[in-house]
Subunit: 506 residues, 2 copies
Amino acid sequence: MNGLSRKIYLELEPPSREDAASAQERILRALPQEYEGAQMSLGVMRKLYPLCGNAGWRVTVTLAWTGSVWQATGLEEGDSSGRHYGVCADLGSTTVVVQLVDCNSGQVMASESVYNEQIAFGEDILTRIFYAKDCPERLEEIAGATARTFRTAFAALEKKTGVAPEEYASMTVAGNMTMIHFLLGLDAFCIFEAPYAVRASRPGFLPARELGMPFEGYVYLYPGLANYLGGDILSGLIATGIAGREDLCVFLDIGTNGELVVGNKDFLLCGAGAAGPALEGGSVRTGMRACEGAVQYVKLKNGEFELDVIGGGEPKGICGSGIVDLIAEMFLNGWVDIRGRLVPEASGRIEKIGEEYAVRYAPGLFFYQTDLDEFLRTKAAAGTMVEYMLGLAGIPMEDIGEFVVAGAFGTYLDKESAVTIGLYPDLDRKKLVSAGNTSLEGARIMLLHKDRLLEVDSIMERMEYVQFGEVEDFIHLMGAARALPHTDSSRYPSVRRKLLEHGIRI
Amino acid sequence: MNGLSRKIYLELEPPSREDAASAQERILRALPQEYEGAQMSLGVMRKLYPLCGNAGWRVTVTLAWTGSVWQATGLEEGDSSGRHYGVCADLGSTTVVVQLVDCNSGQVMASESVYNEQIAFGEDILTRIFYAKDCPERLEEIAGATARTFRTAFAALEKKTGVAPEEYASMTVAGNMTMIHFLLGLDAFCIFEAPYAVRASRPGFLPARELGMPFEGYVYLYPGLANYLGGDILSGLIATGIAGREDLCVFLDIGTNGELVVGNKDFLLCGAGAAGPALEGGSVRTGMRACEGAVQYVKLKNGEFELDVIGGGEPKGICGSGIVDLIAEMFLNGWVDIRGRLVPEASGRIEKIGEEYAVRYAPGLFFYQTDLDEFLRTKAAAGTMVEYMLGLAGIPMEDIGEFVVAGAFGTYLDKESAVTIGLYPDLDRKKLVSAGNTSLEGARIMLLHKDRLLEVDSIMERMEYVQFGEVEDFIHLMGAARALPHTDSSRYPSVRRKLLEHGIRI
């Protein structure tokens, strides 16, 4: 492993009259060549005595990369080079996921997911941003809550592994621009206000203690390119390796927002849009997160729903992957038409409730026409981003080598259903890849591969940001994309075939 | 000026839809080429908003050298590049001298000298070292007292100039090994205990806040070579430029100890010995520091002393320069013989007091035979260091290009008297240079000339440390050097001539 920290065991000669060099110098000069010019933190200088003598001058030094030089940040008696731990994190607005990594083997020792304590200041990001706007004290509160969230997660990792956070040698964090601003205690209103120029986009390496982390050493924060293209996306690009590939790839991260990168080793177009909450079940009346009681998968057989509920109990609502299945199955069975309208004649489960139709997908649980409208608007936004970007680059959809979907949403989604409703393009299914939490994965990769830092710089230089809101024909394209699977159904031959099997011709 | 800090005024374009780069990036990319790769402190990131906007994007950035990279450590509205201040310090065990420097012009704006608050833990260094030995809490106390001393001195500088310490962009410190250990909170017992290997000899650049300094930015601490060859000597070498000269130089720093460097651009021999306190009036019964009431200069005319007293009032004791004069004058007038014995027959002012003779140099003030013995032992040690080192290098005394004496002691010393007693060699007087506080001067030079850092490294590599205690014939040589001016009087032709004028032949 060639990561952002090192632990090196040294067997030093004790000082003698012939060689009375200082303890500091004995250590620094004994380090391998690649650490020449390394500095030593004050904390380590203070540990030199009596530690070196007590240890018979057999010591283990922790080195951390500061962004410009190696710094000795830890010193232990004897050979503790086998205990070399780092932590990587995906700092999400709702959930913070951390992994404890053995930096010698690269193995993940434990993972932990905790709620972001920022939630106390608002469920959604915008509420938090307004809470702290122009108020340094509240920014400190939010920064403090963020650091506390990490410490809580670290404590849980310690419980699982026995590795105390004080042992961490390094940390990497990927998060969107708002999350990184909040971690740093920066006002994030800029993210929502034209011209969308943020405060700090490249925080780089910062001393862990300055960020409220309970260990010596440094924290690397992935840089971001623009207000909606943050460190989580850069991290995702490192994780997927798209920026180094020959073939053309699409990288789509669907979370609270939708972020998109199209390109390969030669170019990288990127953009972002509000393509998120509805897909995750956010604006659906019986929508819920993918936790116990959520309908995760749906099949429609002989006019009846077959539901797969997380945890196996009674359904309490429906999460993103369930919604995609629900719409796809209803569409294939003629319960929803090409314009996205519920067809009451198709099933007795479609009832009029108040002013609108709704489908009863489980006892007492309805999916309304307005839910459907909202969901299709969002899927249209996501699909149009891809379409528009490919158009901009003059690349036909079929030239895509890989269509990578990042994020938890993509992980549980049924690919067929996603294609059926036109959320994913109708490509060879092998080209449709669910990459999972690429933000976390990129953070872990950086923790273990310092040389990838150069790649981040190179990606940042090559990325071209496209502001979708600025694009004239975007709205027009989006209108067409609201249909199921798309107004231009010739783009979805496999969906056409499936519909034909169900006796529906579009 | 090309110092360790910079203040740069930037007129930035405000963010626009065409260029929505972050405030951080706008600043970093606007910096001149030489600052490429500069980092930004968290503190500055937190200042970006609302400062940049309020200032109409006309801001001044402070950059500080961290030892490996430039870091933006300050941000102000408008053009404050004219206010660019740094502070340099000579950290002495008794006195701490600081200078406020205008880093644009290089001018010293004010100087301040304060007592080192470490004195509360012992007048002499050894007492302080024992006080804190193996006791981290007491080390913190001493480190705290050292930082407090600086803050007191800074407050005095502010009173004189109106420049608040918070404005300092950088700081440099030169001090001996014990003082630097104490500033860092390190146990300094190692300095007195074989094999004399210290804890940290190259602290380099440390964040000012970590050292208890009241400003952002970094503090550079001059490195030391060995227990008795600390940062004050390295700083002195930078100040005098000896290590870059063609001709052979001797650098002698007489303070609490005596430190010596002999060499030029080709080689540097160095060593140190206990050659101090007596010369400064330390072990002389009526000796005192060079402050009000101290006899500073002495002439002996027609059997009577003519005294020059600091402040002009009644004499209360005698300081180093006065003692050298006193002995020289008595020697030239036959009151002291070549072996350093008071000659009672020469004057009624030489009286027997108790068991020994003493000369009454002022009403009620006596200089005793034992004082004389002690003083000559010390001058012999200093002289022998020089003699031995020249012998080691195979260089005759007359080849010396410059004999540089550093420290306050040298500044007030009468050169003729110093030669007469054999403390200085009998060279062309133009070659005898009193360089003053070279430790402070070297600190100031580094504050203003970052490129000299490389010279420090080069000097450290070339310095060869000679342990005088280890040298067999050192004691023998020292015996010969205790005579006035020296057992081998042929080395002092000018002294011989002067004695002859007084009718004394040696």
